[in-house]
């Protein structure tokens, strides 16, 4: 099996990753245990896309020939405890977003496992929830979808509008007309209306302005106090330094460092030459 072979080839390198020792005095909320993520990508083109060859493939039950396997996360292990805000840094393509998706359960592990308490929520960059609906509809539906009762939804509506801080009038426009920053703000505001055990934020705060960053930091602190955990992927290291109490450095799908923000960010900055 191709997957097994790919795993074997990289097995020896994986040992270089830092050892994980459970801390019995703290309560874990996410345990990532030797996680490998391999996904298929379709590199378009490839020349053999004619209808006849496609039909033959279906008959022979083969995969598309342009399919390539990407081994994005290679044996990552760590434990996140209640109250942690963990920043994840790494260069483009180091597996940060893939790792978050896997924690959220959106990508199946090829090997290893992710254990969580409660259902993690992932906030990504794509801004709209329901593009064709107005911002206010999105708030109501978003809250109801997360399981808030109609009364709770009404009660939190104003707070969400205030938190998202949209330009006047925009709340009644379809979300497709929003700028990426506005969309991200509204999305974050909706998601933050409920307490989450685990909140995964993938660059969702990057498009916000300074004012919004301050408010979202306050919100993240609040969430940590509720004894949940927050994961933050950002290329802006200042945001991570201000918000997180721990940083994981991913390099080519492996954990290179895991620890104190100052220490890890210092080493990361040095290595990437920023």
């Amino acid at each position: 099996m191709a997957v097994a072979k790919a795993l074997k080839e990289r097995g020896s390198v994986a040992e270089a990753q830092p050892e994980v020792r459970p801390d019995p005095t703290r309560e874990p909320i996410v345990v990532v245990d030797g996680l490998h993520i391999i996904y298929r990508v379709y590199s378009g083109g490839g020349g053999k896309g004619s209808a006849a060859t496609a039909l033959m493939r279906i008959i022979k039950r083969e995969n598309r020939p342009q399919t390539k396997e990407v081994h994005a996360v290679k044996g990552v292990s760590f434990i996140a405890y209640r109250g942690d805000a963990i920043g994840i840094v790494g260069t483009n393509g180091s597996g940060k977003s893939t790792l978050l998706k896997a924690i959220a359960g959106l990508l199946p592990p090829a090997r290893g496992a992710v254990y969580t308490d409660g259902q993690p929520s992932l906030l990504g960059v794509n801004a709209a929830l329901m593009k064709d609906l107005s911002g206010s509809r999105n708030i109501t539906l978003g809250c109801l979808a997360m399981g808030l009762s109609p009364d709770e939804t009404k009660a939190s509506y104003d707070a969400i509008v205030k938190f998202a801080d949209l330009k006047p009038g925009f709340i009644d426009y379809p979300m497709s007309t929003y700028s990426s920053g506005m969309g991200a703000r509204l999305r974050f505001a909706i998601a933050a209306a409920r307490t989450h055990d685990v909140l995964l934020i993938d660059e969702a705060l990057a498009t916000g302005d300074a004012k919004f960053k301050r408010r979202s930091k306050a919100k993240i602190d609040e969430l940590r106090e509720d004894a949940g955990a927050v994961f933050l992927v950002a290329h802006n290291l200042d945001v991570i330094e201000e918000t997180c109490n721990r940083v994981i450095w991913l390099d080519d799908g492996r954990v290179k460092m895991d620890g104190d923000p100052e220490e890890v960010l210092g080493a990361y900055t040095e290595a990437t030459g920023k």
Binding site: G34, T116, A145
Partner: protein
């Protein structure tokens, strides 16, 4: 039909796709798993138990209704006539079919009230047809919502069917007016319209959940579906009397083909609504000895089988929607 399984584990069961016990990193894998188990952590995105799932769905009933209403409003918000189209679309549809099958092809020789007969068929069939095509789109069209928030995914096909139900209720209002105009007297028989439509609704929910899962993993379903529903339309006695056709098929000695025509769920629901609303149709159908009780039995069986089967089939892939 089956779709390609994603790599690795497909459900909440313990993940062990590659049987190789060698440790992969410094910390023994077993200790981390044990540590997680000690503190009651569970595999991320495991499928909830069926009962808990149904409960979560029931808890989202306001969401389902609101989503349906919002989507309906959004569909028509761009057009000048707005939601007037909800009445116009079925009327225009009926008009087109009447032009072709009533006037051009002259199907109406044995049916006293052909316009009402035809329009009933078109409206009832449209409910099922649109539920199907909406169900197939329900997951793919809401990817960003699925990936952003956590909620039972079955709310999506449900909301789309409810959206079609709202459309159907408007169509039924139009239909009642047409039925009265064409000279059918109101009667107690009309009350049977409600159980007939409830059974059809349950049936539609079932089949739309089924295509929702198929459509979520196989894009081709959406391309194929219009052809399937159109073929179904022509076989379902929308334009002709199903009892008459069954009678002639049986006379030709193809007894079991007649039975299949009769058991076609779309035909069953259309027959039941026609029987509820059109008094003249009772006389038309009387010559062909259509077993009315059998129609109700078929309707109940179809509704139960489609609903239970569709729900189960959809639920089995719950944790996989939104992946990829």
């Amino acid at each position: 039909m089956s779709h390609r399984e994603p790599l690795g584990a497909s459900s909440g069961e313990p993940v062990a796709t590659i049987s190789d016990p060698a440790p992969w990193n410094g910390a023994g894998s077993a200790s981390l798993a044990e540590f997680a188990a000690q503190h009651g952590l569970r595999q991320s995105a495991a499928r909830p138990k069926p009962l808990a799932y149904v409960k979560a769905l029931w808890q989202r009933r306001t969401f389902i209704w609101n989503l349906a209403s919002a989507k309906t409003a959004a569909t028509y918000s761009g057009s000048r006539l707005g939601q007037v189209w909800q009445i116009l679309t079925p009327l225009l549809n009926a008009g087109v079919y009447y032009l072709i099958f009533g006037l051009l092809l002259g199907q109406n020789k044995n049916i006293h009230n052909y316009p009402a007969f035809l329009i009933t068929g078109v409206f009832v069939f449209t409910f099922t047809q649109r539920s199907l095509s909406a169900g197939a789109r329900s997951i793919g069209n809401n990817m960003s919502l699925i990936r952003a928030l956590h909620f039972p995914r079955a709310t999506l096909p449900l909301a789309y069917v409810i959206m079609e139900l709202q459309q159907l209720l408007i169509s039924m209002g139009v239909l009642i007016v047409i039925v009265l105009i064409t000279g059918e007297p109101p009667s107690l028989q009309w009350l049977t319209l409600f159980p007939a439509l409830v059974l059809q609704l349950i049936f539609n929910i079932g089949i739309s959940m089924m295509v929702a899962r198929l459509g979520a993993f196989i894009q081709d379903v959406q391309q194929l579906l219009p052809f399937i529903t159109r073929t179904w339309l022509y076989f379902s006695g929308v334009f002709f009397m199903i009892a008459e056709r069954v009678d002639s098929i049986t006379k030709h000695g193809h007894h079991w083909i007649g039975r299949i025509f009769e058991a076609n769920p779309a035909a069953v629901f259309i027959e039941l609504v026609r029987f509820a609303l059109l008094e003249t149709y009772h006389k038309d159908a009387a010559k062909y000895h259509l077993d009315h009780g059998l129609m109700w039995l078929y309707a109940v069986i179809w509704a139960v089988v489609a609903f239970v089967g569709g729900f189960w089939y959809f639920y089995r892939a719950e944790e996989r929607y939104g992946r990829g």
